[in-house]
Symmetry: C2
Subunit: 347 residues, 2 copies
């Protein structure tokens, strides 16, 4: 069955391109001499996580506990949660995971580490901890090397926790002084630094320069937005994720309407919406909730209702999170259907 | 159980406010002398659709077949699909629905109506058709009153179809000449106009001025974006949908980070992200995938990890489409949990 024969809108993945992206990132990190830890938030799909690990990712990264639970059930192990786990319900789910999987979390406050320690002690499990530093990302993370060391010392003294090192996001060259000072303080105090974890697709070499032992990348599996941010094209040879759509209306010579809108593509501001593979001169200029609005004034061919158009979406992670199933294909022919097991796991 | 005791991020609905919104829109349309037909795309929830019908909505509107199937199974009837149904798989699902529900579709081309007619004839069912006009919305719809009449005549001659009238979206005063001419042509040709359907929350009075017999509104159940577009506040007395979040990090005095980001709220460009009910002086200034970034520099209180903050999201329809379940409450106390049955039904 050809992907054009699927009912639309259909989210599809070119498996050949996906495999190549996964292998190339593993080779890139190996060449840099830094361990890759594959993030799973872009795909939320245990099958793709297994491909990452098989190609050389050391364990995986999850952003929400619901994702980690899905991955653990699917056999993935050595899971890093780069998220402050807060509240009794979540902490209990974390210690439950720690019974059968090697779990490491990042943390940036006393409240977070004490909450996890209390439950880990009751449940008799050990949870690894990396102290998260805000080295310029201005999101979460302690604000100084001193605060990192102070939190590290606290973790060392709390039952049920095992301090494993430090973490930052994203890896920025401007954060080097902060990181060097934090590592030095950890060494002075005899705190472990077996993991120094940097992150961000495209920031692999920076992590190496910063002295990180491992690097977290995720969006490399699909590329898309990361390519646009590097002023590169949405190349079908690099972007495996696509949405097959159908032309449902040809109201004027200049405009066709496709059957995917915001609820299929997830609108992303300021950038273009995506690229139509079959018609490089067509431009998606707007989206309503269930319709995509395409300017075809520069196309030479005549469009008709029922035509299929394949879109490389810009923000691929947003697309996967909207759909339950994704069809894998090679050379246009359907090979399998994956369930996006982690879709909608916001807790 | 108080909504603050739910694990977060938790999408919740103030049922009292929801009921009032539904009743007020029904009263508004009754006052104008126009029939309300409630759109269900904002909530995708059969329970809320039933509330719309119980308050005076004449049937319902769906934008995708998957939504219509969910609503039909839940007992809703007289379903208008404001979407060109294209392709064999979809047309068969439509005729399947027409076996046991009164189905009406909009259409703007010969291809669409012939495709439906072919299958309806085979299956021995009747599908109602409204000719969709582009009276200024510049999306789908025929481009002239003449084209509307021509398509209407074609529908009259096709088996399995029952022409029921005309449709436009959105209802615009600038579209009056187009609509008057189309209705006149329909009358001249003896084509039925038992339904002349206008649409868009806030456009009810315009539909009446345009001579519409019914008006399609949907986002009124939650308000939100429609209020902001009228320069009104995201008032908790008008906006029943909220997201209860937890503060997971207090990195600086000016900034707190909550546990809901783009995958909880769905980013909407150019507008603010939402309003925090407990802290009117706080401002959500950014969102990463799973984190919300809140500026609290103007707040007098001190925040700590674990604090609950309740956000009225701006783009409420985008939120419901990301979550499987929504908790209904009255006066802060949990009353029930609704499944968002239509979530992710893009086909």
């Amino acid at each position: 069955m050809h992907i054009y024969d699927l009912d639309t809108p259909a989210v599809v993945i070119d498996i050949d391109v996906l495999e190549r992206n996964i292998q190339q990132m593993a080779a890139h990190c190996k060449g840099l001499g830094i361990t890759l830890r594959g993030h799973t938030k872009s795909h939320k799909n245990p099958a793709i996580a297994r491909m990452q690990v098989a190609s050389g990712s050391r364990g995986i990264v999850c952003q929400k506990l619901g994702d980690a639970e899905v991955m653990a059930k699917a056999g993935l192990d050595d899971i890093l949660m780069t998220y402050n786990i807060v509240g009794r319900q979540k902490v209990r789910r974390l210690t439950e995971l720690a019974r059968w999987r090697k779990m490491t979390v990042t943390a940036d406050s006393e409240e977070v580490v004490r909450g996890i320690s209390d439950q880990a002690r009751i449940d008799g499990v050990r949870v690894g901890v990396l102290v998260e530093m805000d080295t310029g990302g201005k999101r979460t993370g302690v604000q100084s090397p001193e605060a990192a060391a102070q939190l590290g010392q606290l973790v060392m003294g709390l039952p049920g926790l095992e301090l494993r090192g430090l973490m930052t996001y994203p890896s920025l060259t401007s954060g080097k002084a902060f990181m060097d000072a934090a590592v030095e303080k950890f060494h002075e105090l005899g705190l472990p630094t077996s993991i120094i974890s940097g992150g961000g697709t495209g920031h692999e070499a920076i992590s190496k320069q910063l002295g990180c032992t491992e690097h977290r990348s995720g969006s490399y599996v699909y590329e898309g937005l990361s390519r646009i941010s590097r002023n590169e094209d949405l190349d079908p040879q690099r972007c495996p994720l696509r949405v097959v759509t159908t032309v449902v209306s040809v109201p004027t010579r200049d405009r066709v309407i496709i059957d995917g809108g915001m609820k299929t593509f997830r609108l992303f501001p300021t950038y273009p919406y995506g690229k139509i593979i079959e018609e490089p001169d067509a431009s998606i200029y707007g989206m309503s909730v269930e319709h995509g609005h395409v300017d075809v004034s520069k196309c030479s061919r005549k469009f008709k209702v029922g035509d299929r158009l394949t879109v490389i979406p810009l923000y691929q992670e947003g697309v996967t999170n909207l759909h339950e199933e994704i069809t894998g294909f090679r050379k246009g022919e359907v090979e399998l259907v994956w369930r996006v097991e982690g879709r909608g796991k916001v807790r």
